[in-house]
């Protein structure tokens, strides 16, 4: 039977190529240099917490928050430009995501062990803006004919997008808490071991992002088999991360690390997959001005990368500061 359902020509070639590259990268992640497992320890002699380790973890979290913010910044710019900035509030994510990106860059480079008041405030503010934005988007969807129907979930304001900026703020806020750990102490947040808190937050973040990808890929009818990747691999990452965050600390977690790395890689290659998708719309990349707006969102997939990086930071915290 003639195949009228899969693309021919350049789209087919690039898809195959990118699929193989992604596969190779995932294999690479499996074999890449794993961190040496922490020295075997006896319960009587817990290692003294290393302040440099706390700083390292905090900076990793800044990097994660920044990656997420960058994804939101570009994505919401495109989407809200498409929506012609009908409402002034639509500039909000641009401003907040840009601020988050800025302070995250600052934090990633900052080797001091004390939180920074501007960074801290910006992060806290952004977490709140994320919540408010989610409310706005909910209101927008509810208002349309049909209310919470698939039509409005597909094409109305995306509920997950403001959440993402909120998450970026939250990760940054957690980063500041890790950073302020007094020398010789185990990083704690809200009275709980930091690694566990960050692990749970990242795991939930990945789960939410999977939900968003699932909704939008369902909207796209899963017309390409690669569209199943972001709804199958990251959920496993979220589960193993959740188990690590809630289970016993201080042991090596090769599988968790691999799944998180795989998710980070997937976030990056998703960008390239989406770029191919844009090329499959009418006029291809020659017509980029329209297709960038209508095709799959190129900046969206790295949200997975940001959250996977946060998960890896959590894993580092758990291994550096075993709490049991």
């Amino acid at each position: 039977m003639a195949n009228t359902t899969s693309p021919s020509g350049a789209a087919r070639t690039t898809l195959t190529l990118l699929g193989s590259l992604t596969g190779a990268a995932l294999l690479g992640a499996l074999h890449s240099h794993a961190r040496p497992p922490p020295a075997t320890r006896s319960p009587a002699k817990a290692p003294v917490p290393d302040p440099a380790a706390a700083n390292r973890a905090a900076r990793r979290l800044n990097r994660a928050a920044g990656t997420l913010a960058a994804s939101v910044l570009f994505d919401s710019t495109v989407e809200h430009y498409r929506g012609q900035f009908q409402n002034r509030a639509m500039y909000t994510p641009l401003v907040t995501a840009a601020m988050a990106l800025g302070v995250s860059a600052h934090g990633t480079m900052d080797e001091r062990q004390t939180p920074h008041v501007v960074r801290d405030t910006v992060y806290a503010l952004i977490s709140i803006v994320g919540l408010v934005g989610t409310g706005f988007h909910l209101f927008n969807v509810r208002r349309k004919a049909g209310g919470f129907s698939w039509q409005n979930l597909f094409y109305g304001a995306p509920l997950g997008a403001p959440m993402a900026i909120g998450l970026s703020g939250l990760l940054g806020y957690l980063s500041e808490r890790v950073r302020e750990t007094p020398p010789g102490q185990v990083p704690m947040i809200w009275g709980l071991p930091a690694g566990r808190v960050v692990g749970v937050v990242s795991g939930l973040g990945i789960t939410g992002t999977v939900g968003e990808a699932a909704l939008l890929h369902f909207r796209g009818g899963f017309h390409d088999p690669f569209m199943y990747l972001p709804v199958t691999m990251p959920p496993v990452a979220a589960i193993v991360l959740g188990r690590s965050a809630l289970g016993p600390a201080g042991i090596a977690r090769r599988a968790t690390r691999w799944w998180l790395r795989a998710t980070a890689i997937l976030g990056l290659s998703g960008t390239a997959f989406h770029a191919i998708g844009v090329g499959r719309d009418m006029g291809g990349w020659r017509n980029w001005q329209q297709n960038i707006l209508n095709g799959p969102p190129i900046p969206a997939p790295p949200a997975f990368t940001g959250l996977a990086l946060a998960g890896l930071a959590a894993l580092g915290l758990l291994e550096d500061h075993p709490d049991d």
């Binding site: 039977m1 003639a2 195949n3 009228t4 359902t5 899969s6 693309p7 021919s8 020509g9 349309k144 004919a145 049909g146 698939w150 039509q151 597909f154 094409y155 369902f218 909207r219 796209g220 009818g221 017309h223 390409d224 998708g277 499959r280 719309d281 009418m282 006029g283 329209q290 209508n294």
Partner: protein
């Protein structure tokens, strides 16, 4: 140099146009004229297309004939309403009766791919009871088919055409998920939704044969709304970009710009080939089996024009019913103006639908109807305003200023079959020297009652959402059906449930003309499902030896 598909056939020399690549070609098998092929299919539309693909895929030698051109959508289709009349069957036909049908753009396509090249892509299933409307609902005629079997073929047709539809459809028995998700609805479609909600009726996104995400080499729909004058992107899943490429890849041949004038019958009374006109001359193609899929006017015309001494009243016509029971569908509308900007022409024209009155039997007339959102292009709109509303000059100009605020609802209603609504041959002949069709049509009381009911309902729903300056377009009709009805026996029908003619065992009729009743939904998906079933039945009969009977 531009090769004009309207004057010169394109599918020649072992190749056919590659509809997905400008200037490209795909290889095409060619069959010699003297050697009989397994099947000749006359017409390559909603009925002919799937037959060509399925029969070729099962290994039969098949040739599809179409009187129309082989278009390259990416190159030939202009975003220009007037230039696109090239798509329609505009040859002369005589019309009479109390309500003469307006023939052309609104009901007959002429191209490889048939009317699906310019149809509005609305892809609906019959209500199951309609297959037994005489027994269960007390009007029309029963189909000799079981709705559950049709349900199976509908699902296949929906997969093959990648229908984009709602996640769950509010009416009728459960159906599998549509392959693609529904499109984003536009302003005009939202007015239908709000109006339906105000009346307490359910509404839905309309299942459409245009993709909401890429499929193969088809890009997703770009919502420019030129669907009915030919989709220039290939997002529309017409037969031209679905079944026809499949047929070619499986070894079928397409003869474009090839008008079949006569089906030949041998001494034993079996069809043995077709006389066709191509490249300025008449030719003969020998065939073991012939399938007619020329739609409700051209199919009976061809059968009647093929009369012989043995079959004096035309082929397959011992019942005298060829050409009888012609049906159209009522297509009346209510239009009005919104204060807000609507831009109703953006996107496919019928993005939302309510089938409320197809599934509700508390009404004082037979049959059902649905209504859909509207989005006519400017030329079509000004024509509607001048003919139905009798506006001219400055008044028309002024009203055209409201174009972007205009909204409308249009019904698709079931007209009942009547013996006297029919296609016959006129004395006049066309450019090939063939007698042309005379189309006689009158509305009956039930038809008129339904139209008034629908106009009232549509108007009320618009009033409820604050649409002003309302007016009714009362004269429109569209899709055709009937003229070679299927049935249970040779006295009361032309073909059996397998679309095989009662009189000539190797002659099939498989298009909209076999409908005993037309239902209150657009017909093409039912035609395609029927064709898929017929192809399967042919294969079964070939296996069991029944074909040779």
């Amino acid at each position: 140099m531009y090769d004009n598909p309207l004057t010169t056939p394109r599918a020649t020399h072992g190749r056919a146009p590659d509809v997905f690549h400008p200037g490209g070609w795909v290889p095409m098998r060619e069959y010699p004229q003297r050697e009989a092929v397994d099947f000749v299919v006359i017409g390559t539309g909603a009925g002919g297309g799937p037959l060509l693909a399925r029969l070729a895929e099962r290994g039969y030698s098949v040739i599809g004939f179409d009187a129309g051109p082989y278009f390259r959508p990416l190159e030939d289709f202009a975003s220009d309403e007037t230039s696109q009349s090239q798509l329609f069957w505009t040859d002369e036909r005589l019309v009479d009766g109390a309500n003469p049908l307006k023939m052309g753009a609104n009901n007959s396509g002429r191209a490889v791919g048939g009317s699906t090249v310019h149809y509005a892509m609305v892809s609906l299933r019959f209500r199951p009871e309609w297959f037994r409307s005489r027994t269960l609902l007390g009007y029309g005629a029963d189909w000799p088919l079981d709705w559950r079997e049709m349900w199976h073929y509908y699902a296949r047709a929906e997969r093959d055409l990648a229908i984009a539809g709602p996640v769950s459809y509010p009416w009728g028995p459960k159906r599998p998920r549509y392959p693609y998700r529904a499109h984003e609805i536009n302003g005009a479609a939202e007015v239908l939704a709000r109006g339906a909600e105000a009346m307490g009726y359910q509404w839905s996104e309309t299942p459409l044969a245009t993709v909401s995400a890429p499929r193969g080499d088809s890009p997703s729909c770009v919502y420019r709304g030129f669907c009915r004058v030919g989709c220039a992107t290939n997002a529309k899943q017409s037969q031209l970009v679905t079944y026809i490429p499949r047929a070619l890849a499986a070894g079928a041949e397409i003869r474009d710009m090839a008008m079949v004038g006569r089906i030949a019958v041998d001494a034993a009374g079996r069809a043995c080939g077709v006389h066709y006109h191509r490249n300025g001359a008449w030719h003969f193609q020998a065939a073991r089996n012939v399938i007619v899929a020329g739609y409700a006017i051209e199919t009976p015309r061809l059968l009647l024009n093929s009369a012989t001494d043995r079959f004096r009243n035309g082929l397959a016509n011992s019942s005298g019913l060829v050409g009888r029971y012609l049906m159209t569908q009522s297509n009346q509308a209510v239009y009005g103006v919104m204060d807000d900007m609507v831009r109703w022409n953006k996107g496919p024209p019928s993005l939302t639908i309510t089938e409320h009155w197809n599934y509700n039997d508390r009404k004082d007339f037979h049959g059902g109807y649905c209504w859909m959102a509207q989005g006519p292009l400017p030329v079509e709109w000004s024509a509607a305003m001048s003919t139905s509303r009798r506006l001219w000059g400055a008044a028309l100009r002024e009203k055209m200023g409201d174009y972007n605020h205009q909204v409308g609802l249009k019904m698709v209603g079931e007209m009942l079959p009547h013996l006297d609504n029919r296609v016959t041959l006129a004395d006049e002949t066309d450019r090939y020297g063939l007698p042309i069709a005379r189309v006689t049509y009158s509305w009956h009381d039930n038809d008129k009652a339904m139209i008034q009911h629908a106009l009232g309902e549509m108007q009320r729903s618009l009033e409820l959402v604050g649409v002003r300056d309302l007016w009714r377009q009362e004269n429109d009709t569209n899709h055709l059906a009937g003229t070679a009805r299927m049935g249970f026996d040779r006295e009361t029908s032309v073909v059996d449930a397998d679309c095989r003619s009662w009189d000539i065992p190797n002659l099939w009729i498989c298009d909209g003309s076999v409908f005993p009743t037309t239902g209150g939904v657009n017909p093409s998906l039912t035609i395609t499902a029927l064709a898929l079933r017929t192809a399967d039945r042919i294969c079964v009969q070939a296996r069991t030896g029944e074909m040779r009977k």
